[in-house]
């Protein structure tokens, strides 16, 4: 039994690893991280009291601190052989030129030498000279076409000679450029070249931290991710747990009643009603409940949003629960209503299958009452599909809780997920995926335990 459970859990781990890796690599490969947007944005804001140079310095420091200057993965493919110092080059367009040159001409060393010579050439120029050759400077700093750069360099040489400025830095620059164009392998990107980066890479660091249980800290709030999750998880847990229990209880009750011969009217009434209920999307139902029952313009029966701002400290346990229930009533109702059709349908058909089996017929033939046949004979045999259903039901509930928490502004994991998606807060996203997978594994384990409990044959088989 335990061995079987263990194998089942082991099967989930590769999927889990693949997904987490995918999310991590995507989050690092795609441009426009949260920090970049916040630290480097030029319009007014909290971080932007300083000038561009210090913003860039802050950004570089941030990259270094968060380890983002390291190579991304164990191996990299050339022409992607951009070294780690690249991210310290500003402005962005300049960085792009170097990347373009490296991509087109293959040799990063020559590109770096060109960049260095360029800096040495430009820095001592006086503003008056700079303004005279500004368009050519633009070209040599931002273009990736060799012919354009060469043309601009000759123009600059003429103008500098006219103005009588020092030539030595210029010669160095042309030398570097000539080396670059001489060594250039224009189609080097057609020949992939694998490079081994060693263990000092972002992926390795992230993975080892995750295995140690450290999920990093949020880009958005700078707080540890585990702390944020821990705060959010309780609300979600109670929401899920409460609605799951209630849905299962209601579903069982309804299907038992529907299975009785006398209750044909209930069957005729509730099956179409459930069918209609099934086609109402969850967020529409949630908003309808919110607009109708928690709105000063219609019926103010429930508190509107969230879990309340203020909680008196000296409330008894009962009082606190009552207050909590007030806030949770609508969300739980909504989740139950949305999931009830599917659950009831499944339980009902499992029960029907059991009622048509031979043993049920025997039980009826020996004169047992209908309720007793259902309770004692059909229900235990219908339990197996119901247990499968319960564990499969969990993802649907998680999906539902995301929407419900967003609509009702409950500070839970679902809302945290939506907020992190909107803010592109990747560490939190990765952590939530991990959490969801862990819950899934737990559900598997519980379901296996449930099978063994419901069917002694399985217990024997598994042990």
């Amino acid at each position: 039994m335990l061995l079987y459970l263990f194998r089942r859990i082991l099967l989930v781990i590769p999927a889990f690893w693949a997904l987490a890796t995918l999310v991590f690599l995507l989050s690092r490969l795609l441009p426009g991280s949260f920090a970049e947007e916040r630290v480097l944005q030029s319009d007014a804001g909290f971080y932007n009291k300083s000038d561009a140079a210090s913003r860039e310095a802050a950004y570089t420091a941030y990259l270094k601190k968060s380890g983002q200057t390291l190579p991304l993965f164990y191996i990299s493919i050339s022409p992607d052989n951009i070294p780690d110092t690249l991210s310290q080059i500003f402005p962005e367009a300049r960085r792009q030129q170097l990347q373009q040159l490296a991509f087109k001409h293959g040799s990063w060393e020559d590109v770096a030498a060109y960049d260095e010579a360029l800096e040495r050439f430009i820095n001592p120029l006086t503003p008056s000279i700079k303004s005279k050759v500004s368009s050519q400077l633009q070209v040599i700093r931002f273009s990736h076409e060799k012919t354009e750069i060469a043309g601009a360099l000759t123009t600059i040489q003429k103008k500098i000679a006219e103005l009588g400025a020092p030539q030595n830095y210029y010669n160095e620059l042309t030398l570097a450029f000539n080396t670059l164009s001489k060594n250039s392998e224009p189609y080097s990107f057609l020949l992939p070249e694998l490079r081994w980066n060693g263990l000092e890479n972002q992926y390795h660091q992230w993975l080892s931290a995750i295995i140690k249980g450290d999920a990093g800290s949020s880009y958005r709030t700078s707080r540890p991710v585990s702390e944020m999750l821990w705060e959010a998880i309780a609300n979600t847990f109670w929401l899920l747990f409460g609605s799951m229990l209630l849905t299962m209880a209601l579903g069982l009750l309804l299907s038992i009643q529907m299975s009785r011969g006398k209750m044909a009217w209930l069957r005729r009434l509730s099956l179409p009603a459930l069918f209609v209920l099934d086609s109402i999307p969850m967020f529409v139902l949630a908003l309808l409940l919110l607009v109708l029952l928690a709105n000063p313009n219609f019926l103010q029966l429930f508190p509107v949003y969230g879990m309340g701002y203020y909680q008196a400290p000296d409330l008894s346990y009962l009082q606190r629960t009552a207050q909590w229930l007030q806030f949770m009533a609508l969300p739980i109702t909504c989740l139950v209503l949305v999931n009830l059709p599917y659950i009831t349908n499944q339980i009902y058909s499992a029960l029907q299958a059991a009622l048509h089996a031979n043993y049920a017929q025997t039980a009826r033939a020996k004169g047992l009452k209908e309720v007793a046949v259902i309770r004692r004979h059909a229900l235990p045999n219908a339990l197996l599909p119901i247990i499968t259903l319960t564990s499969d039901f969990l993802p649907a509930l998680v999906d539902g809780s995301i929407i419900i928490e967003t609509v009702f502004a409950i500070p839970g994991t679902g809302r945290l997920l939506v907020e992190s998606v909107l803010a592109r807060d990747y560490p939190v996203l990765v952590a939530i995926v991990v959490l969801v997978l862990a819950v899934r594994m737990l559900a598997y384990a519980l379901a296996e335990g449930g099978y063994a409990w419901a069917d002694p044959r399985i217990k024997q088989e598994l042990s």
Binding site: L11, V12, P14, A15, F16, A18, L19, V23, L26, S27, L30, I77, P79, D80, Q96, Q99, Q100, F103, K104, H144, Y187, F189, L190, F275, V276, D278, S279, I280, P281, M282, F283, V284, L287, L288, L290, V291, L292, N295, N297, F298, P395, A396, V398, D399, I402, I403, T406, L417, V418, S420, V421, L422, R424, Y426, L429, I432, V433, V436, L437, R440
Partner: protein, 359 residues
């Protein structure tokens, strides 16, 4: 095919529910397709700031021409509803069609090769492997990189050219190996079923909505990208269905007979499996369409993955947040969405009834 059509027309005549819902869907579809040529008084994104939050059918509504009212920014609800339907169908139809196509193809392959695996000669396997790697590098990585770096399309063109010539060279080399080296003639069995099903399982360990949300965080909000994402997360369901059906069909005696007289694989799949498969796939298609309409509205309600300028039911519903007294912003689009989904589910329900009654 004609049998299926006969059955559908049979239900049409005998069941009122099917008739009503199918004609509703056809009507809605016609409106959605003809929408740009219909004379609507207001464009969906037109802001009529003189008439904000107009109640439907009130005096102000009749006076202003916004019969179904407006939202807090003065956008006309009627045209938003119709254009929202257009958006929903324009996203849902291609997505569900492509996802069903992809999922069914992979599922059929998985089911067909369930027992024996796909047999390949070793040189073929080697060729496909190397060509696959070359495809990833030259047709995906290099073009993506050069476009990202702003180098234009010429490096991508060179890369594609290299890819095609490489494939030809590879093919010649592999043929040569086949002729000269005997060990390349041996059969190599590809466990197609296991590979595809492992992939499907990994995709479905995370709840679908969570997966969509997390992946949407990495994409800029745009409709084509969101559609790709939806296809990526939708296909496992139809792959599972097609695989299960294929396994069932393989057990049928007529299929075994066709197999035993040595029909080629293509003929087996197209002539013998496909007609048996289409019923369940069609039902799943209809239910999936309903699910996608809901999903699209939910995503645009959360404002995830879609641009804010996209007219959709979800966006209209989400504007309730700025004015909670405006019940019509939830009730009208919500009921339109629910009725459409209900009509789809009703059609699917009746279809599944007749199609399973035969089996």
């Amino acid at each position: 095919m004609s049998l299926l059509w006969q059955k559908i027309s049979g239900v049409w005549q005998s069941k009122l529910g099917f008739k009503v819902s199918a004609s509703y869907l056809l009507l809605l579809l016609a409106i959605v397709l003809l929408l740009p040529w219909l004379p609507l008084p207001f464009a969906p994104n037109h802001l009529d700031l003189d008439y904000t939050s107009v109640k439907p059918f009130s005096e102000r509504a009749w006076a202003s021409g916004h019969i179904l009212g407006t939202d807090t920014l003065g956008r006309d609800l009627a045209s938003n509803l119709l254009y929202g339907a257009r958006t929903a169908f324009f996203i849902a139809f291609p997505v569900i069609s492509l996802a069903t196509l992809l999922g069914t193809a992979l599922g059929v392959v998985a089911g067909f090769y369930h027992h024996q695996g796909a047999k390949l000669l070793r040189y073929q396997a080697l060729f496909y492997l190397l060509a696959g790697i070359a495809f990833l590098y030259y047709s995906v990585y290099v073009p993506a990189k050069s476009i990202k770096l702003g180098l234009g399309t010429s490096p991508a063109g060179y890369a594609l050219l290299t890819f095609f010539s490489l494939v030809i060279v590879l093919w010649i080399v592999c043929r040569f190996l086949l002729a000269k080296v005997t060990c390349f003639r041996r059969v190599w069995v590809l466990p197609a079923d296991a590979v595809i099903m492992r992939f499907v399982e990994s995709l479905s360990t995370v709840p679908r909505f969570v997966l969509i949300l997390v992946l949407a965080a990495f994409l800029p909000p745009s409709v084509p990208l969101l559609s790709l994402l939806l296809i990526f997360t939708m296909w496992p369901a139809s792959a599972r269905l097609a695989r299960a059906e294929m396994l069932r069909i393989k057990q049928l005696s007529y299929f075994e007979a066709a197999l035993s007289i040595g029909s080629p694989t293509i003929r087996l799949l197209w002539h013998h499996a496909f007609p048996n498969l289409i019923g369940p796939v069609l039902i799943a298609y209809i239910f999936g369409l309903g699910g996608l309409l809901t999903l699209e509205s939910t995503l645009s309600f959360l404002n995830i993955g879609v641009p804010g300028t996209l007219v959709s039911w979800g966006r209209t519903i989400s504007s309730i947040r700025t004015n909670t007294a405006a019940w019509w912003l939830v009730v009208l689009p919500g009921s339109l969405l629910s009725i459409t989904v209900l009509a789809l589910y009703t059609c699917g329900h009746y279809l599944s009834k007749i199609l399973t009654a035969k089996a």
